[in-house]
Point group: C2
Chain length 230, copies 2
């Protein structure tokens, strides 16, 4: 594996997990030393993160992890709605009914009690996303969705996974999968719309009234004073 790939993967993971908080300064020599690579592959990694929108050049001399506020989340979901409704529609037209019937079945039997069950559920969603991409068979759409999903990982950290919402989410996914499996493009699109509406509402409720969790993404005010994990 290339050093630049390792640097990218590591930084991406740390940003998504919140270890590198919004506003954290990413100095090239510092990060290169920390990750055990030279500046050249590190710069490539930073370039990819910048193209993803996860870091930005605050000024000519300082690169920081971008912040995510409620407005950003609304914007992100506007794009997500557009792309995922389209994906659901196209998958319903083109997808293998069997694959999505199987997924609908898996969602029907999914549970959310305990960490193991939760991990299984998240893995199931990942499988659903992969099937969706495969069914749509559109590289441009998949690439656009990849960017959205990259940001979503960070956004999800802001939402509290309350059991009620999780149970509803399971049911929503089941409906989407079964609609795609039934070649019902309209239902798939509308069910996706509803699912994303509910998911956004849940996230915004958590953001507007922040949890006491220490992992909450820092607001702009003190963010730029935080340094990367040294």
């Amino acid at each position: 594996m290339r050093a630049s790939d390792r640097a990218y993967a590591t930084l991406l993971d740390e940003i998504q997990r919140g270890l590198l908080a919004p506003g954290a300064v990413l100095a090239e020599v510092e990060q290169a030393t920390r990750l055990g690579v030279s500046r050249t592959p590190l710069r490539e990694a930073l370039g990819r993160l910048a193209s993803d929108g996860l870091v930005a050049q605050q000024s000519a001399r300082v690169t920081v992890v971008t912040a995510v506020d409620a407005g950003d989340i609304r914007e992100l979901f506007e794009v997500r709605r557009a792309l995922e409704e389209t994906a659901a529609r196209l998958a319903a037209e083109r997808g293998d009914p069997r694959a999505f019937a199987d997924l609908a079945d898996a969602f029907a039997h999914a549970t959310i009690d305990g960490q193991d069950a939760l991990d299984d559920y998240y893995a199931l969603i990942a499988r659903f996303d992969r099937q969706l991409d495969a069914a749509v068979a559109n590289d441009y759409l998949t690439a656009a969705l990849r960017t959205v999903r990259t940001h979503l990982v960070r956004v999800r950290r802001l939402a509290r996974d309350n059991p009620g919402r999780l149970a509803a989410s399971v049911a929503e996914h089941r409906l989407i999968a079964s609609a795609i499996g039934a070649h019902d493009a309209e239902l798939a699109a509308h069910a996706t719309h509803v699912h994303l509406h509910n998911a956004l509402a849940n996230i915004l409720a958590a953001v507007d009234e922040p949890a006491e969790s220490a992992t909450t993404l820092a607001p702009f005010g003190n963010a730029h004073t935080r340094k990367g994990a040294a």
Copy 2:
């Protein structure tokens, strides 16, 4: 301006203009020498082009300009429809009515006779796109649309700008702009859908029955044998 920016801008322009045809091999030392920069900034430029989807690493040793076939164009327009319909809807909800009323007026008076009028028309479309981005005020959507538009520049080279299609395109843009100016989100979205349907049909007609133009993007068969402008 940074050397990497110049290299990126130059290569982007050459790919979009077809000077670097699909399949053209982009060797680092060769291109670096040609563009008068060292390999480091050139690699950064190639990385950005790869993230745009304009070049791809065919194997571990060879980077080529990506090809565009009719299937790619259909895929691209699926994403474009999703994003631009959303953009039109959001602009209708949020945009400054005056700005789009002015644009509608400009489209109403636009002409397409002669190269100067055509240049003016393309500039007007660019102005429309900028106003749309400003009205939508969504960085994620703007970024996604930027990628689509980057590819569209190449796709447009495939379409013949026949007068009938151009006249219809003017009218379609006028309707979209006026719908946004009237805060009519539904009409704006549907008019965008119709416009993109017509634009795609026009392009596919040209691609399926290629013109005699020497600038037609080369098919895969002989493409990989072409070298970059040396």
